[in-house]
Symmetry: C2
Subunit: 249 residues, 2 copies
């Protein structure tokens, strides 16, 4: 990349932004470490055929009617939804349950961020679990004759406006992309935060507001799993309203 | 403070927050390093009697009518407003101009943040220039029988949602308050960012989005001045709609 074009990266702190930037020429990366995008990556790794994002439980129920044999998954306030087949824990999405299935999924922030990104021509889901694959795919996309004018990262996070786990994950991505990047203030902050925390990622995530909420619900196992970098070589991509395994980078 | 109560600190990333927290029992600190709060501190240090914040240039003109002898100050998009006596540069607010005067002031984000904070019983303006005085006054407030349930920091910053100079300034405040603090995610991030940047504050601020805008307007002198810690022992406080020099901490 040296001497080539820089990659413009704009990191935005949460879903439901009042000011969504122009996305028509951007690659959008959605990050919701705890736990929506981590769970999507895991579901696809375990043989799930596709994830259909829905904004509300009601919309999820409606969509399921049109998809016989599909499952319902998701959460509200980190808790499973009554009558749904699966929660938002990656450990719910085991091969025996999700293999070969479509899953209609709704989460408080993750699916809203995906909806907010809908104007973009390409949308990927990132987490610590699949970060290496995301970084390699970005570098391939921006190597030559790239049709994108840059990357917008949506940190879907919590209902609050700044989420430390998602920002650290964005920082890991930026750090791995090397020096050939142009960052907005939050992107620069994400890189510094990741560099300062690289050796204590799990502790940082455990002490974050969202981490503390999961701990109080007895979900430390989910938190530790979701904080593990580079164990799943999968890029979930949004294609015609369904999140599927990207086969070409 | 050891063994005493912790100070709860919630840092919020910008003015016009869609979710303003409950402020009725909070001390609010407004930070707009580039340049509103830095300029207010400077104006008071140079003998200005009071600053009256106004949301818009029109409101400023109306308020001035009721205050004979007062001056008009402020900016839109970092530029002076036509017909106003003073811009938003601290170097405009010299003793010969502002000594003994009231100034009606409107800035893009700073005065909006002050308005957003209006439910709070106590509102102070902070910048690098007066940080040591702010920290000492906070420690005095929270030493014994404190009537506040914590501190909310508004980083008024740019029109964007995360401003690196303001976040670094909040981080300096948190770091100086010591370990007896409980932080939200952005507060924790601010502390880490400040620790990582302590020896290169001016460079960090120069490279931020807002810093780059000031540089492009030839305002590097303002930027360097506003990045200088602890040179003015003044706490601007909002009292009955006017910002004045706090005489008791």
């Amino acid at each position: 990349m040296d001497g080539g074009n820089h990659i413009q990266i704009e990191v935005l702190p949460s879903a439901g932004s009042p000011r969504i930037p122009y996305l028509e020429d951007k690659l959008v990366i959605v990050i919701d470490v705890l736990r929506a995008t981590s769970t999507m990556v895991t579901a696809l790794a375990n043989g799930c055929q596709a994830i259909i994002p829905a904004l509300t439980p009601e919309e999820a129920l409606e969509k399921r009617l049109t998809l016989p044999g599909s499952l319902l998954g998701g959460e509200r306030h980190a808790l499973p939804i009554e009558g749904f087949d699966l929660g938002n824990s990656p450990f719910d999405y085991v091969p025996e349950k999700v293999g070969g299935k479509r899953i209609v999924m709704t989460t408080t922030n993750g699916t809203r961020a995906i909806r907010d990104a809908s104007a973009a021509p390409l949308i990927w889901m990132a987490s610590f679990l699949n970060m290496q694959s995301i970084v390699l795919a970005i570098l391939r996309q921006f190597q030559t004759d790239c049709k994108f004018q840059g990357i917008v990262v949506f940190c879907a996070g919590t209902e609050e406006r700044f989420d430390l786990p998602d920002t650290l994950c964005a920082g890991m991505m930026i750090e791995a992309l090397g020096t050939n990047v142009v960052l907005n203030d939050l992107g620069e902050a994400a890189r510094i935060l990741y560099r300062s925390s690289e050796n204590q990622l799990v502790d940082m995530i455990r002490n974050s507001a969202h981490g503390q909420r999961l701990m109080s619900l007895g979900l430390e196992r989910d938190l530790v799993y979701c904080s593990t970098p580079n164990i799943l070589p999968i890029i979930p991509v949004l294609e015609e309203g369904e999140i599927v395994w990207l086969t070409k980078g």
